[in-house]
């Protein structure tokens, strides 16, 4: 490939690119590879995949559009970017559904071969958008991607129908040129990925090179760009999605706890990738059962936990509904259990592939009776690793189910992750009970399954196979201590309080809430309180506010139940509290109830994450400033 360039190369500090095409066009693959090559190059990256719920909606229709947005920069970034500066649209439908998001003056690269009457019709265009003036204000590049790809791919010897399918590699090549990406990484990746189909490998390689060379030689583009590596903390990095990080976190947690990992799960979007990932790692002793339904998935995990495994079940909203009864049982049995809910748009089947944070109150209150469950939520894709370990720590130490609330955005989004040294991971080893712990009136030693540890209030974990500790547990109310079935009203009240106190007591054992307030806690007039995947957008929004010389504080909850013990104090230190959430105000409701604080909700339930500008705007309003005050957008990382 030629490296000499007649083009001028312009330096950019960051760029947001969105690849959009038909779901059959391979946009997720293209975007993922572009991200990976950029990360390896040293940029900071953040991604936002956006795909339809239908596996293959009719080709060329608006419903079938699949998109992948990636933000690359020469400094640390927090979000996949508010607005793409470049859109690659493989067909009219992709253009129509995505062009509205592009920044004014942005670049639109279209596969002009796909722009014909039939395609306009499918995309509900009444006229050709390339000629009817609707793209005025954008820099539009018309590239005949299909025909150029067909030409080179046919030379590789693939059938014409297959040749056309390499066009996403053409697009990848073109964008790789446009942003001066190294090519060797992608060529090597194509070679590995398509090793078993040499013809396809050859066609894709040729298409990729053709795209790259097209940029170089076609004189269509006046300039190309360079985004220099970011000054990231030294270390070994990998690109990771939230679901992979979660799966690896579970493996690491089981390893640190010296327990076998058992997953009972039923396939559901967007959680299935955790099942897929864990199923690969049998050499870690991971057992995965694809259960007959959601209830069986959690049931099997509870059975395995009784037997001394780290029992896990993974799901999303509708599955979480179905598991509620079993999670309530685990509360009563007081067995460790991890319930991973990758939240998606609800209610009911809702928006399976879109993100939302609307299961917080479900996690808190979906079980009948007084059935408290600790809840933790990751903030970024890579943070899922740490949170899986923290959830396991709480579960095994306190013998309780723990709910992890991730979401579709974290699950599929990717970011560079500085690998932790496994030697620094916490020690989660637990001791199973091996001795009797009670003496009957007649002096005989006995094992009582509900004798509690004074500090943690956890009951002993005595696994079958331990001689002398044979015991029965059950979902009926049991007598404090002996664990025998008991309908005694006073005992019931005691048990309800004990279970609640056990979970509430975890607050003593979790990190205090950190507050990012430059002047110290309470200095800024407004606190933005978030939880889960809103972290990036809030932190970026806060940066933007600060770039205007204004001050605002940010605190982000990882533990949602119990709350960190200083939360009340933190909230009390601020006059105004804003809680952005991808729901109608669930965390706000919880902090209002617990701390009588006048928290204001910023709600967004559009299936996509908050944009930094949306947070900024409301904070400015609360500060009495207006967004009319100009800042140099490009100077503020988001």
């Amino acid at each position: 490939m030629s490296t000499a360039t007649r083009h001028q190369t312009t330096e950019l500090d960051r760029v947001v690119i969105r690849f959009a095409g038909d779901s059959g066009d391979g946009m997720q693959l293209t975007g993922t590879q572009f991200t990976s090559v950029s990360s390896m190059f040293g940029n900071d990256t953040a991604t936002l995949p956006d795909f339809p719920a239908e596996i293959r909606a009719p080709a060329g229709t608006l419903a079938g559009v699949s998109a992948f947005q990636v933000h690359i920069s020469d400094h640390d970034i927090l979000t996949p970017g508010d607005q793409p500066s470049v859109l690659v649209a493989m067909n009219p439908a992709a253009l129509k559904t995505n062009v509205g998001a592009v920044a004014p003056g942005g670049t639109v690269i279209v596969n002009v071969d796909a722009f014909d009457e039939r395609a306009f019709e499918k995309a509900n265009y009444t006229s050709n958008p390339l000629t009817d003036g609707s793209l005025v204000g954008y820099k539009v590049y018309e590239v005949p991607m299909t025909s150029l790809t067909m030409e080179v791919a046919k030379a590789a010897g693939v059938k014409p129908r297959d040749a056309e399918r390499s066009k996403n590699f053409f697009a990848l090549g073109l964008v790789s040129w446009l942003y001066s990406r190294p090519v060797d990484g992608t060529l090597g990746w194509i070679e590995k990925r398509f090793a078993s189909t040499p013809l396809v490998l050859d066609a894709n390689t040729r298409a990729f090179k053709a795209g790259y060379n097209f940029g170089e030689t076609a004189e269509l583009f006046e300039v190309n760009y360079q985004v220099r590596p970011a000054a990231l903390e030294p270390g070994v990095y990998t690109n990771i999605t939230g679901n992979t990080a979660l799966a690896w976190g579970l493996i690491a947690a089981a390893h640190q706890a010296n327990l076998p990992l058992f997953l009972g799960s039923y396939p559901i979007t967007p959680a299935s990738d955790i099942l897929h990932e864990l199923s690969k790692h049998k050499h870690f002793g991971v057992r995965t059962v694809q259960a007959e339904d959601e209830i069986a998935g959690v049931g099997a995990a509870i059975g395995a936990a009784f037997g001394g495994s780290l029992g896990v079940t993974t799901t999303s909203g509708p599955g979480a509904d179905l598991k509620s009864e079993s999670v309530g049982m685990a509360v009563s049995l007081e067995l460790p259990l991890l319930v991973i809910n990758i939240q998606r748009g609800g209610p009911s089947t809702g928006l399976p592939t879109k993100t939302e944070q609307s299961d917080l109150l479900h996690a808190m209150y979906s079980r009948h009776g007084e059935a408290p469950v600790p809840i933790v939520a990751p903030m970024t894709p890579s943070h899922c690793f740490e949170v899986a370990i923290e959830a396991a720590r709480i579960a095994v130490k306190y013998r309780t189910p723990v709910i992890v609330l991730s979401d579709g955005y974290l699950a599929n989004g990717a970011e560079p992750w500085r690998l932790p040294d496994p030697a620094t991971l916490p020690d989660l080893r637990v001791e199973f009970a091996t001795e009797t712990n009670h003496t009957e009136e007649d002096g005989t030693p006995a094992f009582w399954p509900y004798v509690r540890d004074e500090e943690t209030l956890a009951r002993p974990w005595a696994v079958p196979g331990t001689p002398g500790l044979e015991h029965r547990i059950g979902a009926l109310e049991k007598e404090d201590g002996s664990g025998n079935v008991s309908y005694d009203p006073v005992n019931h009240e005691r048990m309800v309080h004990l279970r609640a106190a056990k979970v509430a007591g975890i607050a003593k054992d979790i990190a205090l809430l950190e507050v990012d307030d430059l002047g110290g806690i309470g200095a800024a007039p407004v606190l933005v309180l978030g939880w889960g995947s809103t972290f990036g957008a809030i932190a970026a929004g806060v940066r933007r506010v600060r770039a205007r010389g204004l001050s605002v504080a940010h605190a982000h909850l990882v533990h949602l139940n119990p709350f960190p013990s200083n939360l009340g104090e933190v909230l009390g230190a601020y006059d105004k509290v804003l809680v952005p959430e991808a729901n109608l105000g669930q965390l706000a409701k919880m902090v209002r109830a617990d701390f009588l604080v006048d928290a204001r909700t910023l709600s967004k339930v559009q299936g996509v994450p908050f944009r930094a500008a949306e947070i900024e705007e409301v904070v400015l309003e609360m500060l009495g400033a207006t967004s009319g005050t100009t800042i140099d957008e490009e100077d503020v990382a988001s």
Partner: protein
């Protein structure tokens, strides 16, 4: 633990200190007794034995066994037992369930446990009624049954549990009844020794809400003419003088005939190991309900790969191929790059 001797035990060792709380006269008592008396003979340890149950009268049984046990929630015992048995192949896992528990609310778990062939022993106490909720009809109640919830008679066609288990690919299917301890014990022993999911239907009398449901076939004087014992390798015949037998018609249907009429050689010879389940299914349909000659015994006992062992094998193979899991290489498995200081 395999090298040390299994301690000698008696029924008392297997009996917990909990007071048994079934209604006096309930068939559950004789099933519990049969089980507690059998356990010392099974060559197993108490600490390695787990009884898992769901909800219903039968589901109380684990509390009465001095072993590990879990009285779980309605219908879910086969799922819970699956997780336990798969993750702990060293344990003996029993599921105690009833007709409402595993044929109604937990129907899905039952059929999938049987299909997977996880090594669990499932004892289904079939009393054809909901006892614990005080007398509604169950999925095995005869059509037209008048109960509190069906004052004008039930409309549903009942399940035949043995047919259902056979249809769910069960590798071991048997039927017994609460009036015959020896027969129960023989079925429980065979089910326990089976390497896979074993299903035993027990006709159990609920003397409070459905008294006498099986009387027509299980009462002492009715048995000879109404219980058809299935014995592997033997012609299928019954009656005080073994005067009745089962024959196959030229069109493939099964029929009860008089041995005197058809001759001994015409009798169907029972083969529990027959791979093809069709004949076992036909036998399960010989009686329309427990009021006419009904086969009891082992309908099917075939060998199929056991799910937990197959999973353990995959784990060992992966370990051999890739070596024991190593966190450092796991974290690097997606490709890495280094940012220098």
């Amino acid at each position: 633990m395999t090298d040390t001797q299994i301690p000698v035990t008696t029924r008392k060792d297997w009996t917990s200190d909990q007071e048994v709380r079934w209604c006096p006269g309930c068939g559950d008592y004789s099933i519990l007794a049969a089980l507690q008396m059998l356990m010392p003979d099974l060559g197993v340890r108490r600490e390695n034995t787990v009884f898992v149950s769901g909800i219903g009268c039968a589901a109380r049984l684990p509390y009465y066994m001095n072993t590990y046990g879990m009285h779980s929630i309605h219908g879910r015992a086969p799922a819970i037992a699956t997780g336990l048995a798969v993750s702990r192949p060293d344990l003996d896992v029993w599921v105690i369930t009833g007709d409402g528990d595993s044929l109604s609310i937990g129907g899905n778990h039952l059929i999938h446990a049987l299909r997977r062939n996880v090594k669990i022993t499932i004892l289904l106490f079939n009393n054809q009624i909901y006892g614990l909720t005080k007398g509604q009809y169950s999925p095995t109640s005869e059509q037209g049954k008048v109960t509190k919830s069906t004052p004008f008679g039930s409309l549903d066609t009942p399940f035949n549990p043995v047919s259902l288990a056979l249809g769910a690919e069960a590798s071991f299917v048997a039927r017994t009844h609460d009036m015959d301890r020896k027969h129960m014990q023989e079925m429980f022993r065979r089910a326990h020794d089976h390497n896979g999911a074993a299903f035993v239907e027990i006709y159990q009398n609920c003397n409070v809400f459905n008294d006498g449901a099986f009387e027509k076939i299980t009462s002492k004087d009715a048995r000879a003419d109404n219980l058809i014992p299935l014995v592997h390798g033997e012609p299928i015949r019954f009656g005080a003088e073994l005067e009745h037998g089962v024959v196959m018609e030229p069109d493939g249907r099964l029929r009860i005939a008089e041995v005197a009429d058809v001759g001994e050689d015409a009798l169907l010879v029972h083969d529990e190991r027959r791979d093809e389940p069709g004949l076992a299914f036909q036998l399960s349909r010989l009686a329309r309900g427990p009021y006419e000659p009904t086969p009891i015994g082992i309908f099917r006992a075939v060998e199929r790969p056991e799910y937990g062992a197959a999973m353990t094998k995959q784990l060992l193979e992966a370990n051999e191929r890739r070596g024991p899991g190593d966190l450092t290489s796991l974290l690097a498995s997606g490709g890495t790059w280094t940012v220098e200081a």
